[in-house]
Every structure is written in structure tokens, then in C-alpha cells.
Symmetry: C2
Subunit: 202 residues, 2 copies
């Protein structure tokens, strides 16, 4: 079976899915979505995801799954990327919900404003930058005593948080005072099968 | 074993945890957190959750779990509230991530501004209300052909989305044109063991 993925290559949320598919060696076809020109608002796309967001994983003709972190859990279920232990699994989810609530709405949105909209003096940026550093502070404290976010091994929690953290500079963030995050980024970068995320203007 | 829960009784995110504990008939002690007077910013609270948010589930002296929806999955693991099937489990997560990204930041924040901060002319409200109706539109479309969010049975996805939707009026929202949501709210309300969420000023 071959998965169909509808996504924007330079979106961190979409990159998560591609990275997991590559590292799990799963067959897929990538369908690039022209989000900036309204392609997530068409009738055919809203049939795939009524919430109008990428990525979408099409499993079969009747089955489309949305929400990047739910897709990660689906793909990783039964593999070393998602622990089977009840508490470890909940910890993976804890960090994934942290990512979507306390990290992505700041880091990813700041990056979107700067790289996609090219609005370097957008009035939302100061709040987005402040929130980004609050999330990075929590991550730094956690990683100071650990190799990965949970279970002392590489999981989908790391994929979820890596996606936008590894391009923090594109959001106007400076990781100089975050040594534990930088060491973790290097460990994730060295995982087998890792692929790069294309830059926005590529 | 008795769980310790640190939460704010009138917070929907905290109510999710209490509702699941009650419906799963699990023993717990509730510790009310005086969030509006800075209790989530104290040194002792930040040891429980460095991200400074409620709820926190303390499992044992070494183990605290955060993020309401991760806590729900932990508590429900192995029970009918969380399907064992891989795709159904991913669908539960899909709706929980939808809740935290596309619903809670609008509905819960609008309710917080109105009920906790009492700022009925806050400049953020129009955006929060518009986002709330976008989320409700997605839910209405989905529920029009279903009894519950996934697997045609009551799961933690319903608990997650019920928490703030059932007090949508406190956020200034009108559910009159959402008949499928209202029918679903009634079905959730009739689940065995359901408890009420205290109002903010109670």
C-alpha cells in the first residue's frame, strides 16, 4: 500500500510526516499543495480536510487522516518511534500537545510571518517571539538532563519538536543561549534516514 | 493507588481530567490551584509543570504528567474510552489535536476573557469568536452523520471537545444554528458518571 500525502514541503507540520515516512521506510506519493494561492480552500481539498489545513495523509479512498501529530502516531504505531509502554506513550503525547499549543503557535507562526508573508515589521511578531522563547526555555530545562524528549530514545515527540525548532533562525530566534537544545538538534540530525526540509523559496 | 490532580475546577482543560477520573471510577484527590493569584508561577508548581499550566496529574512521587489530552489518553488506555484499533486511536488523537489547536485557543480563550478577566470589550474577542465559529462549523459538519466523534461511541475525543463546547454560551457563542452539536452535547451529557463543571464564580 502506498500512502498519498497532501502537503506543503516547506511547512514544518508537513515535514514531520515526510520525515517519519522516510525514516520508517514507508512508500508514499507527495502531492504539493499551493497553499499560498488558496489550494487548501478548494472544494476538493475541503473534502480531504474540512478544517482546511495541511498535511493530510490519505490511507485509502475512504480514509484521510489529518493533524500532523496524529499522523505521526498512526505511522509510528508498533515501531520504535512510538513506545508501547503506557506512561511513555502518554509522555510522547504530552510533548506533542506541548508542541501544538505552546510551541507551534509561536515559532511556526513567527516563521510564517517572516518567510511566507515577508512581513518583518508585523505587529504580531513581538508576542510570537516572546512565546517562542518561553517554549524554548521549557525545552532547554527538560533536555539539560536528557538525550531525547522521552524514553531516552528518538521518538515521534522529537520529530514533532524538531520540525520548527531546527529552523528557529527563520523565525528570527537565536539559539545561542540554548546549548541543550542545540545538542539535541544535532542528535536528531544524525538519525538514520533523515531528510532536509526545503526552504520556503526553494 | 490514588492520583493527585492539581487543577482549576472551572477550567475546561481541568474538567476533562476530573470527568474521565469519575467516569472511569478511579480514586483521586483534587488540589485546587489559585491560578488567578499566581499559583501556577510558584517554584513548587513549576517543579510539577515547568510550563506553568494546569492540569497536572501526579501518578507517583517521581511522576507528573501534564497536557490535559495526554492525561486523558493515559487514564483511558486499555478502557473503552480509548479504542485499541490503530486507526481509531489515531482518529481520537486527530480530534484531540484539533481541539487544542483549532478550538481551545478560540472558545476557551474567549470564555477566559469574558468569565475570568470580565473584559467584555477586549479587542481580542472578535478574532476569538470568529475562530470559535470556524471550529464549530467543522464539528457540525462532522457530527451531522455521526453519534460521537469517532468509532460511533463515546471516547476521550468527546470528553476533550465537550469540555469547552458545553459552555460555549459563557464564551458569548450561540449554538442555535448547530443542531448536530446540540444533539451530541445531549448524548455526552447522558453518559453514566458525568459530573458538572462548576461555573467560574462558584
Amino acid at each position: 500500500m502506498t500512502y498519498q500525502v497532501h502537503g506543503v514541503s516547506s511547512s514544518g507540520n508537513c515535514y514531520k510526516v515526510r520525515l517519519a515516512l522516510e525514516q520508517l521506510n514507508l512508500p508514499y506519493v507527495w502531492h504539493e499543495v499551493d497553499m499560498m494561492n488558496g489550494a487548501t480552500r478548494t472544494e476538493s481539498f475541503l473534502k480531504l480536510n474540512p478544517n482546511g489545513k495541511v498535511p493530510v495523509l490519505v490511507i485509502d479512498e475512504q480514509t484521510a487522516l489529518t493533524e500532523s501529530n496524529a499522523i505521526l502516531c498512526y505511522l509510528a504505531d508498533g515501531t520504535p518511534l512510538l513506545p508501547a509502554d503506557r506512561l511513555e506513550r502518554a509522555r510522547v503525547l504530552q510533548w506533542m500537545f506541548f508542541e501544538q499549543y505552546s510551541h507551534e503557535p509561536y515559532v511556526a507562526v513567527a516563521r510564517f510571518i517572516k518567510q511566507f508573508l515577508k512581513k518583518h515589521d508585523d505587529p504580531r511578531l513581538p508576542d510570537k517571539i516572546a512565546g517562542s522563547y518561553r517554549a524554548l526555555d521549557v525545552m532547554e530545562q527538560h533536555l539539560a538532563r536528557r538525550t531525547f524528549f522521552t524514553a531516552e530514545r528518538y521518538t515521534v515527540a522529537d520529530i514533532a519538536l524538531y520540525a520548527y525548532t531546527h529552523v528557529a533562525d527563520e523565525a528570527g530566534l537565536d539559539l545561542a543561549s540554548y546549548p541543550a537544545i542545540r545538542a539535541w538538534l544535532a542528535r536528531v540530525k544524525n538519525q538514520p534516514g533523515r531528510i532536509d526540509m526545503p526552504s520556503v523559496d526553494q
